[in-house]
C-alpha cells in the first residue's frame, strides 16, 4: 500500500471475530495499525478524528443493522474504501452493498491472512482509481464550462462590432440610405440580435450548470409582471396575428420572487408559445391559486399550437432539445430556453411542468412561492401571546433624480437598505424585504412594534444616516413617512394568528397600493426583450 503502514478501522462488535481478523491482519502485513471499535457511533467518531486507509465493517452492530450501516459509513467518508465482513447467512446483503459502492466482502470464518491482505490491497487500488476518475470528470466539466464561457465572450466582440456599424448605417450617420437598403439592414440587425440572444442563453445555461445562476427575490405583484411581459411580447405576437392575453385573478397576493428572472421566464414561455402557434391562434397567460397548495401561486402559459407529442414531453426541459418537426420559417434557438426557465423556477423553490394534447396546444405551468408577511411579522408584533399595543408602518421612499443612472441607482438603493437595517431596533422593528419590480422609485417598509415617539426618533435617524449617503445625495431624494397600523378592537374574538393575519393584510394592501402607482418598465428591459428576440 501507499505511504507507510496502512491504518485500518475495524468495526466489529463480536470480540472473538474482532481478535481473529486482527490476528490475520497482523500476519498478512509486516506493519499495520488496527483500530477496533464495536459500534457505529464509535466508528463515526473515529472517522471524524482521523481518516483511515480502509474500513473493515461488520453489518450488524448493536446500534445499526444491514444496509444502513454501510450507507452511513460511506456518507461520512466517501473516499475511503469499505470492505464488508459478512456472515455465511448475509452474503446477499453483502453483494447488494458491493453494488452500492462497497469495494468487496469477505465471509467470516473463511478468511486467510493472504486473502485478506490481497483483498484490502485491491480495495484501496480500486477506490483510488474511482477517485481519480471522479476528479477527471469534474475537471472536464469545469473545463467545458470555462470553454463555453470564454467562447461566448469572445463571440460578443465581433458581434458588437456588426451591431455598431449596422445601427450607424440604419441611423443614417454614414449618409442617407434607400428604403430597400434599410430593410436589408434591419434583417441583418434582427439576425445579430438573435445571435446575441443565443450567446446569452449559452452563458446562462453554463452558469446554471455550474451552480452560478442566482436569484434575488423581492416582494412583487405578479399580475403587474405578467402585464409587463405581455406588453413586451405583443409586437412579436401581432406580427404573426396571434392573440396574446393575460387572464389574471385580481385576488392573488404578493409573490416572493426575483422580478428580472421571473420576467425572463414569462418572456421565454410566451415567445415559445408564439413560435409554435400558427397565425390567428392565441397565447394566454394565467395566474391562479390552488387550494391544496396555499403557499404558492400557479402560473401558466397556454397556446393553441400543434402541441407536443406524448413521447417528447419528458424531453422538452432537457438542454439542447429542439422540436424535430419544426418546419416553418422560425429559426430554432439553441434549445436552452426551457432548460434555463426551469432552472430559474427551481432556484425559487418552485417547479415547472408541461401538459399537451397534440393538435390542441400546450400549457407550460410553474409555481412560485407567495410572500408570507404574516410569517415574518409574527415574532416581531406579538408579545406573550398577544398583539403588541402600538404598531407603526414606516415608509422610506427613494426617488432618483430625473435622469439617474440605472446601474449606480440600483447599488445606491442596496446601500440604503443596508444602512436602513442599522437604523432600527432589531428585536422590535422589521425591515420588510424590498418591494416592487424594477421601477426607478424604491420603497422600503419598516414595521415598528412601538409607539410614535420612538418611531419619530427612528425616522430622524433614517433621515440623518440614509439621507447623508453621498451616492444618494448625488442621485436621488429620500422621503420618510409613518402611519399607525390600526389595532384590533378592544374585545377581539379572533385568535392571535388571525389578528396577525389582519395586520399582514393591512400592510400588504398598503404595499400593493404603492406598487400599483409605480412605473416599472425600464428602458433597458424594453430593449433587452424587444430587440433580443
Amino acid at each position: 500500500m501507499e505511504n507507510g503502514a496502512p491504518h485500518i478501522l475495524l468495526i466489529e462488535d463480536n470480540p472473538g471475530d474482532a481478535d481473529l481478523v486482527r490476528l490475520r491482519l497482523v500476519e498478512g502485513y509486516s506493519d499495520v495499525h488496527v483500530n477496533c471499535v464495536p459500534r457505529l457511533a464509535d466508528a463515526l467518531a473515529c472517522l471524524e478524528a482521523e481518516t483511515p486507509t480502509l474500513v473493515l465493517l461488520d453489518l450488524n452492530l448493536p446500534d445499526s443493522h444491514g444496509a444502513e450501516t454501510f450507507r452511513r459509513i460511506m456518507q461520512k467518508v466517501p473516499n475511503v474504501p469499505v470492505v464488508i465482513l459478512s456472515g455465511q447467512d448475509d452474503e446477499t446483503l453483502a453483494m447488494k452493498a458491493v453494488h452500492q459502492g462497497v469495494q468487496d466482502y469477505l465471509v467470516k470464518g473463511d478468511i486467510t491472512s493472504k486473502q485478506l491482505e490481497r483483498a484490502l490491497r485491491y480495495a484501496v487500488e480500486r477506490q483510488g482509481l474511482l477517485r481519480s476518475l471522479e476528479i477527471t470528470r469534474r475537471q472536464q466539466l469545469e473545463f467545458k464550462n470555462q470553454f463555453l464561457s470564454h467562447v461566448s465572450h469572445e463571440l460578443r466582440t465581433p458581434l458588437t462590432c456588426i451591431h455598431q456599424y449596422v445601427t450607424l448605417l440604419l441611423d443614417g450617420l454614414a449618409g442617407a440610405i434607400a428604403p430597400d437598403q434599410a430593410d436589408h439592414l434591419r434583417t441583418v440587425l434582427k439576425s445579430v440580435n438573435q445571435l446575441h440572444a443565443m450567446i446569452r442563453d449559452l452563458l446562462e445555461a453554463t452558469r446554471a450548470d455550474s451552480g452560478k445562476l442566482r436569484v434575488e427575490p423581492r416582494c412583487i405583484d405578479i399580475g403587474e409582471l405578467i402585464q409587463q411581459a405581455v406588453a413586451m411580447m405583443r409586437p412579436t405576437a401581432a406580427e404573426k396575428r396571434i392573440g396574446l392575453e393575460a387572464g389574471l385573478d385580481p385576488s392573488i397576493p404578493l409573490v416572493y420572487a426575483d422580478p428580472d428572472r421571473t420576467l425572463e421566464v414569462f418572456i421565454n414561455l410566451i415567445d415559445n408559445g408564439i413560435k409554435f402557434t400558427p397565425p390567428d391562434g392565441s397565447v394566454i397567460v394565467t395566474a391562479s391559486r390552488v387550494e391544496t397548495d396555499p403557499a404558492s401561486v400557479y402560473l401558466s402559459v397556454s397556446d393553441s399550437g400543434r402541441g407536443i407529442p406524448q413521447e417528447s414531453l419528458p424531453l422538452v426541459f432537457e438542454r439542447l432539445y429542439q422540436d424535430p418537426d419544426a418546419v416553418d420559417g422560425n429559426r430554432a434557438g439553441l434549445g436552452l430556453g426551457l432548460y434555463i426557465a426551469k432552472e430559474i423556477v427551481n432556484l425559487h423553490g418552485g417547479r415547472m411542468w408541461v401538459a399537451s394534447q397534440p393538435g390542441s396546444g400546450s400549457t407550460f405551468s410553474f409555481t412560485l412561492p407567495l410572500y408570507s408577511l404574516a410569517k415574518l411579522l409574527l415574532p416581531v408584533i406579538t408579545l406573550q401571546g398577544r398583539l403588541r399595543e402600538a404598531l407603526v408602518l414606516v415608509r422610506v421612499e427613494l426617488t432618483p433624480l430625473s435622469k439617474s443612472l440605472r446601474g449606480s441607482w440600483k447599488e445606491t438603493c442596496q446601500r440604503c437598505l443596508e444602512l436602513l437595517r442599522q437604523c432600527i431596533y432589531v428585536d422590535k422593528d422589521l425591515v420588510l424585504p424590498p418591494t416592487g419590480t424594477t421601477g426607478p422609485v424604491e420603497t422600503f417598509f419598516v414595521v415598528a412594534a412601538t409607539d410614535m415617539n420612538r418611531v419619530t426618533i427612528m425616522m430622524d435617524r433614517i433621515r440623518g444616516q440614509v439621507g447623508a449617503l453621498p451616492q444618494l445625495k448625488n442621485s436621488g431624494t429620500l422621503r420618510v413617512t409613518a402611519e399607525i397600523i390600526p389595532g384590533p378592537p378592544a374585545a377581539d374574538p379572533r385568535t392571535l394568528e388571525q389578528q396577525v393575519w389582519g395586520v399582514a393584510d393591512y400592510v400588504t394592501e398598503i404595499i400593493q397600493q404603492g406598487l400599483a402607482g409605480k412605473q416599472n418598465f425600464t428602458e433597458k428591459e424594453k430593449h433587452k426583450y424587444a430587440h433580443g428576440k
Binding site: 460578443r156 466582440t157 456599424y165 443612472l405 447599488e411
Partner: protein, 144 residues
C-alpha cells in the same frame, strides 16, 4: 431616424468624451456616433494612454472598456482616483464582460454606469447626457 436634436440641451454640446477601447473598429464606430450627437471625442487604446491622455485632454466623460492592454479598466478606474483633477470625471464602463461580478465592482471603483456590449445606443447616450449634467452639477471638478 434615431438621432435627436440637441438644441434644447445647449450646455451639453461639444462636451469632450474620451473613448478607451482596444478594438479600433469599435472605437471608431462609437466616436462616429458620439460626434454625430455633437460631442467631441478623443480615442485611446490602452490603460496607460488612458491616464496620460486624460491628464492632457481633460475630457468631460470617459467611456471605458474593461479588457485592455497596459492596465485593465479596473486599474484605470483606480488610477483616475489618484489624481484630484481626474477623479471627478464620470466614467461609463462599456464591456463585453458579464454584469455578474463586474457591474458591482466597477461601480464600487467609481464608475457611474455599467453597460454590456452591445449596448442600446439611445440608452447609452441618455446616460452620457445624464452623467454630464450631474458632473456639471458637482462643480469645480470639470473644466468649463
Amino acid at each position: 431616424m434615431r438621432t435627436e436634436s440637441n438644441s434644447e440641451k445647449q450646455p451639453l454640446n461639444r462636451a469632450k468624451i474620451m473613448v478607451v477601447d482596444d478594438d479600433p473598429d469599435l472605437r471608431q464606430a462609437l466616436s462616429l456616433r458620439l460626434r454625430a450627437n455633437n460631442f467631441d471625442t478623443v480615442n485611446v487604446c490602452d490603460g496607460y494612454s488612458a491616464i496620460a491622455m486624460a491628464q492632457k485632454e481633460k475630457p468631460h466623460l470617459i467611456i471605458l472598456d474593461l479588457g485592455l492592454p497596459a492596465g485593465d479598466g479596473f486599474a484605470v478606474l483606480k488610477n483616475l482616483q489618484q489624481y484630484p483633477a481626474l477623479s471627478g470625471i464620470p466614467v461609463i464602463v462599456l464591456t463585453a464582460r458579464d454584469p455578474e461580478g463586474n457591474e458591482k465592482r466597477t461601480l464600487e471603483s467609481g464608475a457611474v454606469a455599467f453597460f454590456q456590449k452591445p449596448a442600446d445606443n439611445e440608452e447609452l447616450l441618455g446616460v452620457i447626457r445624464a452623467s454630464l449634467q450631474a458632473g456639471w452639477g458637482w462643480g469645480g471638478a470639470l473644466p468649463s
